[in-house]
């Protein structure tokens, strides 16, 4: 099959290739995936240490603590989303590839969620059990984290794209992303609190799902635009 006629890859090829490449990279550097998880566990441990071991208090604070810790862990991992690609020049190669940048950015963002968001969702019940949350509430917590981390990956990718290549980009990234992430945090924690109190929480879940869908349809375009600007 030497010198076969040129095969033009489709949109899905670009998405899948980017996703696969980033997953492969994560596989080869497991620290990048594990560190934010350890960070999440440590931040969650800080609160009982700081406020005392009263079970009632911990139960009450658990949704907020877990959500804030998850948000910070996502933020921590976002910093490196485009940084390595920027440094070795492969980001530039993505920019000049004939594939639409939106699709490639979405592939990278999805890989980020799979390697950083999803593990948090999987780990959260362990921490929630330690905080004595009842089983039904833990299910709601996982559902909100599942929807919320998708939004956080998408929103965060915009911030990561805007700050890539800037000095002291880490602090700046937090300043840009945190205000945008507030609705996710509010919907997430309130929904879990409502569920814990035995009230109806469907509205919160729907709001989170709507936010994730909105972010999914808009954020990749902003990320692509930001990547172009950052590489000028």
């Amino acid at each position: 099959m030497k010198n076969g006629s040129a095969r033009t890859p489709g949109l899905l090829d670009g998405f899948v290739a980017t996703l696969r490449r980033d997953l492969l990279l994560a596989w080869k550097r497991p620290g990048d995936v594990l560190n934010p998880l350890f960070f999440f566990a440590m931040v969650c441990t800080l609160f009982p240490l700081a406020t005392g071991p009263s079970v009632q208090q911990l139960q009450f604070a658990a949704p907020g603590v877990l959500w804030v810790a998850a948000l910070l862990a996502m933020l921590l991992s976002l910093n490196s989303l485009f940084l390595a690609d920027h440094e070795d020049g492969s980001l530039e190669q993505l920019l000049v590839s004939p594939q639409p940048l939106v699709v490639l950015a979405l592939g990278k963002t999805f890989a980020h969620w799979l390697t950083n968001g999803l593990p948090l969702v999987v780990l959260s019940p362990l921490v929630a059990v330690a905080f004595r949350l009842p089983g039904a509430t833990i299910q709601v917590l996982m559902l909100t984290l599942l929807l919320g981390t998708i939004s956080l990956s998408l929103i965060g990718s915009i911030g990561a794209a805007l700050t890539v290549g800037l000095h002291r980009g880490t602090a700046l990234l937090s300043l840009l992303v945190l205000p945008l992430a507030m609705p996710v945090l509010i919907f997430g924690t309130r929904t879990v609190s409502l569920a814990a109190a035995g009230d109806g929480y469907a509205a919160g879940v729907l709001a989170l799902a709507a936010y994730a869908l909105g972010a999914l349809s808009l954020a990749p375009y902003a990320t692509a635009a930001a990547l172009r600007v950052s590489n000028e």
């Binding site: 099959m1 030497k2 010198n3 076969g4 040129a6 095969r7 033009t8 890859p9 090829d13 670009g14 899948v16 290739a17 980017t18 490449r21 492969l24 990279l25 080869k28 550097r29 390595a84 690609d85 440094e87 070795d88 020049g89 492969s90 530039e92 190669q93 993505l94 920019l95 000049v96 590839s97 004939p98 594939q99 639409p100 490639l104 590489n231 000028e232």
Partner: protein
């Protein structure tokens, strides 16, 4: 016209390259060779002016233009944690590729035996050869090369010249930024940037 910071890098620049031709951008460091290349490939946006490919404005037909252009920057553009073959496989999923056999491209550049090593384990010159293999893999008629001879030994330089010669000889185009004298046996235009 392209303005970087407070400084206007170049204005009133006009040139055209046709197939079977090599354009060498010359000039001292900081004269804007790289910026001009980046403007052509669309990483930088010109403040004014227009670029046409096959008579079509590139701005409107970006995807089609990028499918026919390959960019060799001064950075490798390779993921250091992946092997050469993994890097090339990724590239072949993004753009039309001519040589189905990735190994053939690596062999051409003399780095086939290193294909299973992570790129980080290769020397700078070897990494450059892998970058060149990726360029070869793309079936792009337009080659944009930023200082392609950097980090290469004499043999490697001869190889680059041979590749360019072959590419241009078979009707391709090549625009190359170089701060040293380039003499390749193909129709060559030189553009000196101030």
């Amino acid at each position: 016209m392209l303005v970087r910071g407070e400084r206007c890098l170049f204005a009133n620049l006009g040139f055209s390259v046709s197939s079977g031709e090599l354009l060498v951008l010359e000039g001292r460091n900081g004269s804007g060779k790289t910026s001009l290349l980046k403007t052509i490939v669309g990483i930088l946006e010109p403040d004014d002016g227009e670029l046409r490919w096959n008579g079509q404005p590139v701005r409107r037909h970006r995807q089609a233009f990028l499918a026919s252009a390959a960019w060799l920057s001064h950075r490798t553009g390779l993921k250091p944690d992946l092997t050469a073959i993994e890097n090339l496989r990724f590239e072949s999923a993004l753009r039309p590729t001519r040589v189905r056999d990735l190994e053939e491209a690596l062999e051409r550049l003399g780095v086939l035996r290193l294909r299973k090593l992570p790129v980080r384990a290769l020397s700078a010159g070897q990494q450059r050869r892998v970058s060149l293999a990726r360029m070869l893999l793309a079936s792009a008629p337009l080659w944009l090369m930023d200082e392609p001879f950097t980090n290469l030994d004499r043999e490697g330089r001869a190889l680059v010249e041979e590749l360019v010669c072959e590419h241009v000889g078979s009707g391709g185009l090549c625009i190359m930024a170089a701060h040293q004298d380039v003499s390749i046996d193909v129709p060559t235009t030189r553009l000196r940037l101030q």
